[in-house]
Every structure is written in C-alpha cells, then in structure tokens.
C-alpha cells in the first residue's frame, strides 16, 4: 500500500510541477513580450535610448532564468531566442526602425511560441 501511495504522490507532484511550469513559462514570456513591445513603441516615438535600455533589461531578465530555461526547454529554442535578442539589440544600436521592428516582432512571436509549447492544452497533447 505504501508503494501505491508513494507512486500516486509522485505522479501528483509531477502533474503539479508540469502545471506550475506551464504557468511560470507563460508569465515569464508574457512579461518579456510586453517589455519588448514597449521598447518598440518607444523606438517608434524616437526614444532610442530608452528603447535600448528596456531591451537590455529584458535581455538580462531572460539571461537570469538561464538555469530554468535550459532545464525545461529545448536548448535549440532557447539558443535561437538568445540569437534573436542580440540581433534586435544590434538593430537598436543602428537605429534602423524597419529592421528593428521586424526582428523584434520575430523575437516576440518566438517567446510566445515557447510558452505555448509548455501549456497544458489538448492541442499540445495531440
């Protein structure tokens, strides 16, 4: 009987951990995407310095979760986002609005897709 309860408890722990991971990845990526969108609006208003500052802050936030991201997500996906961040920051420094807007939108959609993959939904199961 101990084994039954032990196994059931471990299954519940794993289920709760997977739901917590889905919630956390969604919260994290939403927050990052919001900051990136805000930076894009600032750049559109010509406030390039503030846009750079906000994007760098977002990048640091992403990097500070490196251990978590590498533990639960495919490394190729997280590496792709890292590359996109560097690309966005480069366009920001060059103050190239068209290129920056395209790269930033691409980065935001990558973040959204990453979170979507972790969600507990029927679509993902199928």
């Amino acid at each position: 009987m101990k084994r039954l309860w032990g196994a059931t408890a471990l299954l519940i722990v794993l289920l709760v951990a997977s739901l917590a991971n889905a919630w956390y990845s969604n919260t994290l990526t939403q927050h990052l995407a919001q900051q990136l969108q805000q930076a894009q609006q600032l750049a559109a208003q010509g406030q390039w310095d503030r846009a750079v500052q906000l994007t760098q802050e977002t990048y640091r936030h992403w990097n500070s979760r490196h251990f978590y991201l590498h533990s639960v997500l495919r490394h190729s996906d997280t590496d792709q986002i890292l590359r996109s961040f560097r690309c966005v920051m480069q366009y920001l420094e060059l103050e190239e609005m068209d290129q920056y807007a395209a790269a930033n939108t691409d980065l935001i959609s990558q973040l959204e897709l990453l979170s979507e993959m972790e969600q507990a939904s029927l679509v993902n199961v199928l």
Binding site: M1, R3, L4, A7, L14, V72, H75
Partner: protein, 226 residues
C-alpha cells in the same frame, strides 16, 4: 562530453532503481505490460543520453511517470483479480487431455512449430503424452504430463529418503561470510578445522565452501588469484 557522462550515470541509476522497485520478476519473466515498459524506458533514456540539446528532464519525467504508473498498476493487479486478467491476460490451455486446442493456439498466435519446440524443451516429443499444456501470461508453456508418463517418486515407490538441507555458502572467492556461518550455528573453530582437514590454512585459499546443518561440506580450493 561531460554532459553525456553525467546524464548517462543519472539515467542508469534511475533505470536500475526503477527495475529494482518493480521486483525481481521483471528481470526474468516479463508480462506484456512490463515488456512494453522496458522497451519504452530504454528508448526514453537513450535520447537525452545522446542528444545534449534536449533537457535531461524530458527523459527523466516520462521515465518517472512510467515507473509510477507501473507501480500503481502492479498494486491494483495484486488487489483485483479482474484488473489482473484485464492487464496481464489469463493462462490459456493449449493441450487438454492430449488434444491440441487449435482455436486457442490461433488466439494466442502460437504456431505448431513453437508448440512442439516448447514440448521438446520439456522432454515431450508428442502432444498425446501431455495431459495439460498451459500457456502462462508471461509466455511460458507449463506442461503437465499424464500420470502414466510421469516418473515415479520416492513416495510412490515406498522408499524412505533422507531430506536434504539447504547448503549455505560460507566462503566465497576467499571471503568468509560470517552471517551464514552463524545462521548454521557453526563457529570459526569448526571452519578452521574443516579447512585444515582439506589442507587449507585460511579462507583466503578457498574458492567456494558450502555446508549444511548436517555438516556436509563442499570445498573447492582456489586455483589462481585474480
């Protein structure tokens, strides 16, 4: 390289621990569900071992889930006969009173060659000598011959035979197993005497020494040291 090494160690320990938790039966006799489990676990473990681009958790979590499911199912099969029949199936009688049940063979996808091979393996060349042949849920064929085909035992022959005791290993490859010595109610003096009788001065010179409660001793000296 380092990642592969550490991951392999972690996954190996996890699988060994899981198989130990499932019990000894897993190693020798596999039920259908256990066979499936072994195959899936082997596959799940090998992917994160080789592909460092995948988090270790993607291998560990499914393995843990499978082990938990197996544990739950094994407890449920012990508690419910119906559930056991559903999960493990029921034994099938392939030969009844010397007659082969062809429908049952077809149902279990057992060919004539396989049946004859199993019978030969158990010392029967003809199904007519078999009263019952039962295909167990683990895939083994249990063969029960007609009484006339069975060798007589001591009781049937009216013979009095001495019961044999279970011999225990006292020295294994030069190492003295004191627990076994004590469980036979023997001591070191007894052991030293037996060793001296066979020209050994210490357990280190012995490859295998077994004894039972009646004092029957089997001793094999070490022929070489590794």
């Amino acid at each position: 390289m380092f990642t592969g090494l550490v991951r392999t160690i972690i996954l190996y320990i996890l699988i060994i621990a899981g198989i130990r938790l499932m019990g000894k039966r897993q190693v020798g006799e596999l039920e259908p569900s256990e066979l499936v489990l072994s195959l899936i676990i082997a596959d799940l473990a090998s992917v994160p071992m080789q592909d460092f681009g995948i988090p270790l958790l993607t291998g560990v979590v499914p393995i843990l889930v499978l082990l938990c499911m197996t544990m739950i199912l094994s407890v449920l099969t012990m508690r419910s006969v119906r559930f056991r029949a559903l999960l493990c199936g029921r034994p099938s009688i392939i030969i009844r009173e010397g007659k082969v049940d062809q429908r049952e063979m077809a149902r279990n996808r057992l060919t004539v060659d396989e049946l004859l091979e199993e019978l030969r393996g158990q010392g029967f060349t003809n199904p007519s000598a078999v009263k019952y042949a039962i295909l167990e849920t683990n895939g083994q064929l249990s063969v029960l011959p007609f009484a006339t085909q069975k060798p007589p035992n001591a009781q049937q022959l009216g013979l009095e035979v001495e019961q044999t005791d279970l011999p225990l290993v006292l020295v294994s490859d030069g190492r003295l197993l004191e627990r076994n010595l004590a469980s036979l109610g023997l001591d070191r003096a007894w052991l030293d005497q037996r060793l001296a009788e066979r020209g050994c001065s210490s357990p280190g010179q012995v490859f295998l020494l077994m004894a039972d409660r009646k004092g029957t001793v089997y001793l094999a000296r070490k022929e070489f040291s590794v």
